[in-house]
């Protein structure tokens, strides 16, 4: 019975990978084919032809891309739930399961933000990074479904990890947008945007968007850290012990607090703010990768 669910989970995840790959192709198609080179007759000087963007031609590809993204999200959700049922606990007991849930949160954050902002241009990046995460997870990090060690059996664990994973997804999204800001900024400072980049929002919008995302999840991250402390108190007898994982959660928190202060109280915008945002996000990634893989401490469980 248990193994049936585990197989189902694996199959759903393979299916999700296939669908994300389709989504990636559709996004790529959209990005590439929307660029239109004018007819020879239009421009007299052939070398100075300006390319334009025409999205009417790729609208269908774009719809398919987003639909595949939604489908991938649902399959992945199913895969995570099946994994949870097979192991009889929430699906974040080890690195493999963290990666699944992390990819799920990242896609979810993107889809949620997509409802409000025109972010379709990000889809190419989102689909490929989810694909890479899932690929790494299933080839390198895969572990058979197993029950949790006693310290992980806690409601606070569920709450803490849900909050942390959602925060992580949004932090990453904000990082991607800050990265896009920096890239476009340097492109603009060298002249005009390339044709394919014309459809991307202006710098001002990107700058605001990455800030909004951070401001939106910072309280959630604060909550995640506190929920972790409450759990640690009931499992280990201290709410804060400067364990490497806790330490880096704190560092991430301080870094984002610095980012918010830099924006709100000092008035940083643009490049400097984007770099600070990237820095803060990288402390989160560092925590995830370094501490889980090479670190020692109470948060490092056997077999990743």
């Amino acid at each position: 019975m248990q193994t049936t669910w585990a197989y189902l989970s694996n199959n759903l995840i393979y299916a999700a990978m296939g669908v994300f790959a389709l989504s990636f192709l559709a996004h790529a198609f959209e990005t590439a084919w929307a660029v239109r080179t004018p007819e020879q007759s239009e421009g007299t000087e052939g070398s100075l032809k300006t390319k334009t963007l025409d999205y009417t031609r790729t609208e269908r590809a774009a719809r398919i891309a987003t639909a595949m993204m939604v489908l991938g999200f649902l399959l992945l959700l199913g895969g995570a739930i099946a994994r949870g049922i097979s192991a009889k606990h929430v699906p974040w007991g080890n690195m493999y399961e963290f990666s699944l849930t992390g990819a799920l949160a990242f896609t979810g954050a993107y889809l949620a933000a997509l409802r409000k902002y025109d972010l379709r241009w990000l889809g190419l990046f989102v689909s490929i990074s989810v694909l890479l995460t899932l690929g790494t997870a299933i080839t390198l990090l895969y572990r058979d479904s197993a029950p949790l060690v006693p310290a992980l059996k806690s409601t606070w664990l569920v709450i803490h990890v849900v909050a942390a994973i959602i925060s992580g997804g949004v932090f990453l999204l904000s990082n991607v947008i800050a990265g896009a800001y920096l890239y476009l900024e340097s492109m603009e400072s060298r002249g005009e945007r390339k044709a394919w980049a014309k459809r991307l929002p202006d710098l001002e919008t990107l700058d605001q968007l990455s800030y909004r995302l951070v401001a939106f999840v910072f309280p959630l991250w604060t909550f995640a850290v506190i929920a972790g402390a409450i759990w640690a108190e009931s499992a280990w007898g201290r709410y804060w012990g400067w364990d490497p994982k806790e330490t880096w959660a704190f560092i991430t928190w301080v870094a984002y607090a610095a980012y918010l202060h830099a924006r709100v109280t000092i008035g940083w915008r643009g490049k400097r703010a984007a770099w600070l945002c990237l820095f803060a996000g990288s402390t989160f990634l560092f925590n995830y990768v370094y501490v889980n893989v090479w670190g020692t401490g109470k948060h490092t469980y056997s077999g990743l």
Partner: protein
């Protein structure tokens, strides 16, 4: 160049005031906060004595020179080092100095009326004008009241303001950071923390001598210890048969509070500690105690009972020392207990499952001076064999006896032990309340929108409306539209 330069006489008081102002500026506070983040990094990369003393010892063995340098900068005890403490104490002071005056100011401002309507509204954002019909000011006043704006009416104009929640939330957040720091300090000054290993069937009475380790905060002492009695009736550990990973630990205990005659049976699990006032008792680790009987050459019992062994791996291969100081000559057993015995070509005896399916006790027997009277504290799990002589080597299953010229040892049975961690942290509820308040404050401060709306009727009979949103908060235009719609509806 011996020109006299006029330096204003600062004096001690002036100097102090200068430092205080520097320290309590927000900039300093933020720099201190960043510094604290940076200062936390080394402790996550270098092993810390409080978490992993074994790794620290290994560090000393691997690179003693480097280890000594790290020690000089408190690198193995970062989070209790003078420099780390200095940063957070300064941050604490700075935060208080920065936030408390602002709180007072804020409460004054909250009661004050909004500032007067600017002279030229047409220069403000979201400006609109339309001709009056006489009732606009009344309608506007009603609308502002209904929407809980604070208003200032001056002649033919109204200045209305809303959204102090943002500042209130912000102050609440920063004040609660102070509360959290306070909770942490109270915990470390008045807290007590101890550990004890108890065999199944034994009783633990919470008095200083019962603890294996016990440490007090700087302002607490033995009197802070909560008296209680815990008897371990049963302990069950469940393991996964495929992965050998632990699934569940459950201890059944009989608990007696101090001064009470009656006792209650309770279940103690990893995530559900026992609570005695501020003190909580956690199930932290477990292992096995072989029960042995050691006789001397005349057949007299020299030692009898369970001896706790220390687990070494996930399959609970445990090592321990059985010391028999009352035998003549003194004997000691350097032993390991293997819950599920197997042989491994390289390591000899190993354990392949944490449950005791096929237990075996392996030991070497030493005679001579155990060194217990030397005054040097000794580990109960190890024997210093430098002044001893090995006389035999063997292994036993439960119920078996091994005889040697100086006596015999019987491996009677085994029993599990549990390690209780006893923690008294009187500051943690402050930290928790602080944390809850911090989140509420943060939400209010990030999602609150402070804005002003003005309305004026000019002498020429034109109604002017304008607004201003602090920090460019969104939503003001829509709000103004609603107000204007209200004003123009009844014409």
């Amino acid at each position: 160049m011996s020109q006299e330069v006029d330096i204003p006489e600062l004096g001690t008081a002036g100097l102090l005031r200068f430092f205080w102002r520097q320290l309590t500026s927000m900039r300093t506070a933020l720099i201190l906060l960043m510094l604290m983040g940076l200062a936390a990094i080394p402790g996550s990369l270098i092993p810390q004595r409080s978490q992993n003393p074994i790794a620290v010892r290994q560090y000393y063995l691997d690179s003693p020179e480097l280890a000594r340098w790290i020690e000089r900068f408190s690198g193995f005890t970062v989070y209790s080092s003078p420099w780390f403490s200095a940063i957070y104490i300064l941050l604490f002071i700075s935060l208080i100095g920065c936030v408390l005056p602002r709180t007072l100011e804020h409460f004054k401002a909250m009661r004050a009326k909004p500032p007067a309507t600017p002279r030229n509204l047409s220069r403000m954002e979201h400006f609109q004008e339309f001709s009056e019909n006489g009732s606009e000011l009344d309608l506007a006043t009603k609308w502002f009241e209904k929407n809980r704006f604070r208003v200032r009416v001056e002649g033919q104009s109204i200045s209305a303001e809303k959204g102090y929640l943002r500042e209130t939330g912000n102050l609440l957040f920063h004040l609660s950071l102070i509360l959290i720091l306070l909770g942490i300090s109270i915990g470390s000054l008045f807290g007590v923390r101890g550990e004890a290993i108890i065999n199944k069937g034994e009783r633990f009475i919470s008095v200083p001598t019962s603890y294996d380790t016990l440490s007090f905060g700087k302002l607490s002492n033995e009197e802070s210890l909560q008296p209680f009695i815990i008897e371990v009736i049963d302990f069950v550990a469940k393991y996964d048969v495929l992965t050998n990973a632990p699934q569940d630990y459950t201890a059944t205990v009989r608990v007696t509070n101090s001064g009470e005659k009656t006792s209650t049976i309770k279940t103690l699990k990893v995530n559900s500690p026992l609570t005695f006032g501020n003190t909580r008792v956690y199930l932290q680790a477990n292992g096995y105690s072989p029960i042995v009987t050691v006789r001397d050459s005349t057949g007299m019992v020299a030692l009898q009972g369970p001896v706790p062994f220390l687990p070494q791996d996930g399959n609970l291969r445990s090592i321990g020392a059985i010391k028999v100081p009352d035998a003549n000559p003194q004997v000691g057993f350097v032993a390991s207990f293997l819950p599920t015995y197997a042989r491994d070509g390289e390591n000899g005896g190993i354990s392949v499952f944490p449950e005791a399916l096929d237990p075996k006790l392996l030991f070497s027997i030493w005679k001579g001076d155990l060194g217990l009277d030397s005054g040097i504290p000794q580990s109960v799990y190890r024997i210093d064999t430098s002044k001893m002589q090995r006389i035999a080597l063997d292994s036993l299953k439960p119920g078996e006896t091994f005889s040697y010229p100086e006596g015999s040892i019987t491996f009677e049975a085994f029993t599990p032990w549990i390690n209780l961690q006893i923690v008294d942290d009187p500051g943690k509820s402050y930290a928790l309340y602080g944390a809850i308040a911090a989140i509420l404050g943060l939400l209010a401060s990030l999602f609150g929108r402070r804005r002003r709306i003005w309305i004026r009727i000019t002498t020429t009979g034109v109604v002017e409306v304008a607004g201003l949103a602090k920090n460019g908060a969104p939503g003001l235009p829509a709000e103004i539209e609603k107000l204007v719609a209200q004003l123009r509806k009844e014409r």
